[in-house]
Symmetry: C2
């Protein structure tokens, strides 16, 4: 547990579709929720300062780090890195974590640019070959962590094992369980099925002494069921799965609306059941599940959805704080060392002659 009393969060005030108009009210909500949190607001002072006037509690606990350079939502990562280096709000907010000025950082900006800068500034942890983005996925059971949802395309067996370890550490921070259940996403639960690297990762995890319960392969429909705490996959498939689920949820919400407005009686019924629909809407509210966590770096970086509002942004801040308070980075560091022993042993075993088939 991080015992530091006053945490400081750096916010990329210029990120997201609405920039400071969304970020500052979001920070203000967060200031109420976390009375001891301090804020480092990075961006254009002429836009931030007037907004702070409306939020006295936030203003008292904020510092503005001025810059008038910011990364646009459609910039290519390489371009953002070149042009935004050292002086963009996104860069400076991440850099505050490196220098220790801030304990964590949240940005609603361009995902690709944020990941490129975060990797460049904070570097990956020893033993981690590639970072991952983890999504918090609402399930029938409660919530699960799904990673990678788009940091990098493809992953070999040992990278999948790294993802499993990072996801397990995040689950311990977020859900407070000692040994989270972990499954590898695959296209069949039988051991025979699936791609070679997924099967190999399964073999490594099965024999590993790590703070996780490896339960085997899971399929796409297991994510929503909440079969496991952590679902591990490579970034291409993870991103497609995440967006497909978002698309399906929107599709069904539209169907529901269309059905309920068809006749007068159904409209009346819908009106009577409006409390139920409000509860449903609340449960499905994407603002309550906002915040993709960048895992595997020397620091906690959280990506908020670019189109979210103040409430959603405050959720992303909650996620970042939860990770810092529970020492996500040291948990990953410790477990990666254990993991490397496991992989070394697994590889050594592979080289021994087979005695059984």
């Amino acid at each position: 547990m991080n015992t530091k009393k006053h945490l400081t969060i750096a916010l990329d005030a210029m990120g997201g579709d609405a920039g400071p108009d969304m970020v500052i009210p979001g920070a203000a909500l967060s200031a109420i929720r976390h009375p001891e949190l301090r804020f480092l607001l990075v961006g254009d002072r002429s836009r931030i300062a007037p907004l702070l006037e409306r939020h006295a509690a936030l203003k008292d606990r904020s510092d503005i780090l001025h810059t008038d350079v910011f990364v646009t939502m459609d910039a290519k990562p390489s371009q953002a890195l070149r042009q935004g280096r050292g002086r963009s709000s996104m860069w400076m907010a991440i850099d505050a974590v490196r220098t220790g000025q801030a304990d964590t950082v949240v940005s609603a900006g361009n995902t690709g640019a944020l990941m490129a800068m975060a990797r460049f500034i904070l570097k990956t942890l020893p033993g981690i070959s590639r970072p991952a983005i983890a999504a918090i996925w609402p399930t029938l059971r409660s919530e699960s962590i799904v990673l990678d949802v788009g940091a990098t395309i493809g992953a070999d067996a040992s990278q999948l094992v790294e993802f499993a370890v990072m996801g397990e550490a995040m689950a311990r921070c977020l859900f407070g369980v000692e040994r989270p259940t972990v499954g590898l996403l695959n296209i069949g639960v039988e051991e025979m099925k699936g791609v070679e690297q997924v099967k190999e990762a399964g073999r490594i995890l099965r024999g590993a002494e790590l703070p996780l319960e490896y339960t085997g392969f899971v399929e796409g429909d297991d994510i929503g069921k909440g079969t496991v705490d952590v679902v591990v996959t490579e970034g291409f498939t993870g991103n497609i799965a995440l967006k497909t689920a978002e698309g399906t949820a929107k599709q069904l919400a539209t169907y529901l609306k269309q059905s309920l407005t068809r006749t007068l009686v159904s409209k009346l019924g819908a009106w009577l059941a409006s409390g139920a629909f409000a509860a449903l809407k609340d449960r499905m509210d994407p603002r309550k599940h906002n915040g993709g966590v960048f895992l595997g770096l020397n620091g906690v970086v959280v990506k908020s959805h670019g189109g979210t509002d103040a409430l959603g942004f405050a959720t992303a801040i909650d996620v970042a704080l939860e990770m810092v308070r529970n020492d996500l980075v040291s948990k990953i560091k410790t477990d990666v060392e254990k993991m490397n022993d496991v992989i070394t042993r697994a590889t050594a075993q592979d080289k021994q002659p087979e005695t059984t088939i």
Copy 2:
């Protein structure tokens, strides 16, 4: 258009969780829908014959091809191929298409075994390196075709182009459009993103003179929106996307039920709106979208969901007939020839020195 008057469909009577108890009533429904269709029921006569007694209209137009060997739902494909060769209901039903006894075949059996046998018996079409399974996906616009949803893992650029051509041909049969829109599933719509083989397939399709409208990359959430008629991806990602969507749909249906039964007033509201919910349920009914089409073979093979009922099985028969009546196989054959010219030209161009970057 297939002008043959009396089509015959071969049915693997032993396939699916319930076997003949589901297949025969499904065929009976189909017999009413398609008054000129003939049925070849392959399986255990002692189980099929008594069921036929209840369905006179079906009985008159059916022949039973007896066998008491059948492939179990959990058999490995290689095992099924070895043990079920020549004499299992699944094998004999597919073989009836090869010999011309039947025009098409439907099975609710084990997917892996069905694909292995179908490839072995019917062979892939000239110019097609690997078959695909296409799913009919309900969307906000109407329906789309998504392929491959699990026939094979991974696909290079020219295999993705093959999938595009097979999907386009199926869309022309199913939706009656002349130039279906086709998109490649990717993790970003910008041309820069995504895996190399997807980008390369995009370049080939962009310049191709084929009966399709290539619209570029689509993301996971575009599937449910119905952005394009045909969504092309490799089998691992396609299968995960399909199952994730199924899982999300179930999850939301459960949420809805839970919300509506929370209070007395919401229960009353739900009762008043029950017509609307029935319409919604009908729209989401998986039995109305049953039938995975095996594409790229010398014949039309349709896989029904193993757990479906008679209504769902009748839908799978509808799909198979639609494909045969609209000459799916010849459409694919013609377009694959065009495609091969396109790929040859694209490859030749790649070998020329680059003049622009």
